[in-house]
Symmetry: C2
Subunit: 454 residues, 2 copies
């Protein structure tokens, strides 16, 4: 063991407490009610970077929630790594499903439970703790820049322009991301592709106010009726998106991801049992299911609302009905074109006598696909094999890490996803947790990765 790894073993409890303290800050990026927690979380990251020996630590205004930037150039002749993470979290609802409160971290069975524990406060702390271990012992083996954003859970609306503006300062040889969970806890993997995302709200309006459903029933517009017809026209019976033009520009996926799908031994019945859903009959094949999860674009309804949702009955015709939609995009699909296609289809499906509003959340992000020959990727695979005892699979990710595509586009450098969260840790859901065993392994892995990259 190196001196840095010794330091880690002696400071494990402190590292866990750092994650817990980070998770106590309710830094929801999507909900203005929590806006005071945003600078608090940014300040928390700044303090950890100062502790890890970074002399330059700055708050970068973005037009939205700020980024934190830090850099430490130990030797201009050495390579430079840019570390990425985010300090914001998803909303915690439904609150009543949490066993312990989302912003009061609790360790149970070697897992730390809290909103943000896995996405991304635990994995980001892994990187920051490893940087501190190097600083406290052997020193940084290469130049390190760090960029931590605060809008990842809101679709990173200001991140791309910020990277574009800072492109000179961010110049590096490789980006290593502390975000982007591993696929399975039992199977090491590196993510070489992730889907893009675009988000929109749809609102259909009928009358100017809620109406009595007895007096007006049958004659007044019912926006819920209109909305369900329109939304039902976006998929076919098998759940495939049928919006004209939706996926026209999609390019075929890297065939090696298909190999990983076939090699994965994925158990479809266990998947449905694991998410607590009835097994569909007929059951899709493993290949079909993973292909839909990783390589096919989606149009998912994240929420629907309109009219009365309380107990009992309210005999009302609602004035409005709303749906929240996010699409996951694959390589080749442009967010602007996807939104335009959906809006056009919704307008085509809008019945007479209703008004439609489509509101887009931020610019969205295109999908990411890594260069298969990226040298940093191979180093990361070696380190993972060493620590996890098995050569990692190259997998795709259904979820979106907008930064992959953004860094490639603006810095012209490859991105390695090196997060130690795993996809079963209920991020974006109640009872999110982070395995403390992943914290221990992850810190060692980050130290070795940085040493090898030097």
């Amino acid at each position: 063991m190196s001196a840095a790894e010794d330091w880690l073993a002696a400071h494990e409890a402190e590292g866990v407490e750092t994650i817990a303290a980070f998770c106590r800050i309710p830094s929801l990026s999507a909900d203005p009610a929590y806006r005071e927690a945003i600078p608090e979380a940014a300040g928390f990251v700044e303090a950890r970077l100062a502790e890890a020996g970074f002399g330059t630590v700055e708050r970068i205004e973005t037009g939205g929630h700020p980024c934190v930037y830090a850099e430490r150039i130990v030797d201009p002749a050495k390579p430079t790594v840019l570390v990425y993470g985010h300090y914001d979290v998803q909303p915690p609802d439904p609150l009543d499903k949490w066993r312990s409160p989302p912003f009061e971290p609790e360790v149970r069975d070697d897992r730390l439970y809290a909103r943000g524990a896995a996405d991304d406060k635990g994995p980001l702390t892994v990187a920051l703790h490893a940087l501190r271990a190097l600083h406290e012992t052997s020193g940084l083996p290469l130049n390190v820049k760090v960029l931590v954003e605060g809008e990842e859970e809101s679709g990173s609306p200001h991140f791309a322009p910020t990277v574009a503006r800072m492109r000179d300062r961010l110049a590096c040889d490789l980006v290593v991301s502390a975000d982007g969970a591993m696929w399975r806890a039992d199977l090491p993997s590196v993510t070489v592709a992730s889907r893009g995302m675009v988000a929109l709200d749809v609102e259909v309006a009928g009358a100017g106010k809620d109406l009595h459903s007895g007096r007006h029933g049958g004659s007044a517009p019912n926006p819920v009726r209109a909305l369900v017809r329109m939304l039902a026209g976006l998929h076919d019976d098998e759940g495939r998106v049928i919006v004209p033009g939706f996926a026209d520009d999609a390019t075929p996926p890297d065939p090696r991801i298909g190999e990983a799908i076939r090699a994965s031994g994925f158990d479809v019945s266990a998947y449905f049992d694991g998410i607590g859903a009835p097994r569909p009959d007929p059951l899709p094949s493993a290949e079909e299911l993973l292909t839909r999860q990783w390589l096919i674009p989606t149009l998912e309804f994240n929420g629907i609302s309109g009219g009365y949702a309380g107990e009992g009955t309210k005999t009302v015709i609602p004035a409005t009905a709303r749906a929240k939609i996010t699409c996951r995009l694959v390589a080749g699909q442009e967010p602007d074109a996807v939104v335009a296609a959906i809006e056009a289809q919704l307008r085509a499906l809008l019945p007479p006598g209703y008004a439609l509003e489509v509101h887009r959340h931020g610019p969205g992000s295109a999908a990411f696909a890594s260069d298969p020959d990226l040298p940093g990727l191979k180093v990361a695979e070696e380190v993972l094999e060493e620590i996890m005892g098995r050569r990692p699979l190259r997998v795709a990710m259904g979820a979106t890490i907008p930064i992959g595509e953004v860094f490639q586009r603006y810095l012209g450098r490859g991105v390695v996803f090196f997060s130690f969260a795993t996809a079963d840790e209920d991020y974006h859901a109640p009872n999110e947790f982070f395995r403390l065993s992943s914290f221990r392994k992850g810190c060692i892995a980050w130290i070795r990765l940085l040493e090898r990259l030097a």
Copy 2:
């Protein structure tokens, strides 16, 4: 003017304050959070009945919210009238749309604004105030029984069994209802038919918990997607219900209601403008619109919910999605058969991999249609013509007054609807109001009706 009418003129302010005090009690029948207001509202009615000289005033347990019953037999040889009303109200949401708080009555422009003002606390107070005027002056001209329920806004689930159980005590010659608004403020009318109602909740479940829409998008069940497809399968493009068996038992409406429709000079454009809805293109004819509102059964979505409804974006696949449905029924349709038909259609439309629950609220109620030759109806028409200066139309009502059919079935007596609310008074919506001019006219009309019926 009679002595009773003189008394009314002298006690008008007191009557208005009685309505306001009644409306200050938030007696929502559908929401258990307001359960303490129920006995308070019942007690309020009892106090007004005692004030009007009723010696017998009782609270009747029903298994749900209680009824209030009172009787005063002045002479067994005289006819007996049974007066009906209800003390419960609709939920007040959306609260932010109220100009003054729903349970803090405010008089503006000779209108009293409050939840329940028009439905039914104002019109019920009209009847009680008229009874008191007679008691304080000439005395009751005939025997009067009064039955006031507390579950009308929840579909009156315990009312029919209560009337069945009390049928001997409730024996009478005619029922006069203080509930059941007049059609238009500018056109006197008597309601001779009203639609029935049945209410149900639908819940579709997918996974056992909310899931990340990136990681699981495309592979996991999305109950919102399933629900919108199912709900879209209940109507055709023109909004007609296409549930097999839904209206098989409907009987044709009384043709004289069609005559009223044609005589009404109903302005379809003004209707859509009045409710603040875009005018559909093409615009339906007046006859088509009123026929749909009065004489065609409906299946309306009163609410839909599932997943995230807050600000911004939450990238979640919801575990469940729900809809609230009420149907308005026409003569011949049985509530049980209608619910069975809808549930069968929903089950037929349920995609594989989802669970469906259908929950019915109460037994519902069949439609009401009056005997066109009912003597009490003709007396009511004479009084209305006298006071309003124009012979009233016989109209049907889109809304449901379950008691019409219940009293006909269990007491074998006709029912006259004699409410002085009008259908434009935003009952079941924000800013419900009751015209104080209707209060003044209504009290006089009730006195004359009771005197003529004697």
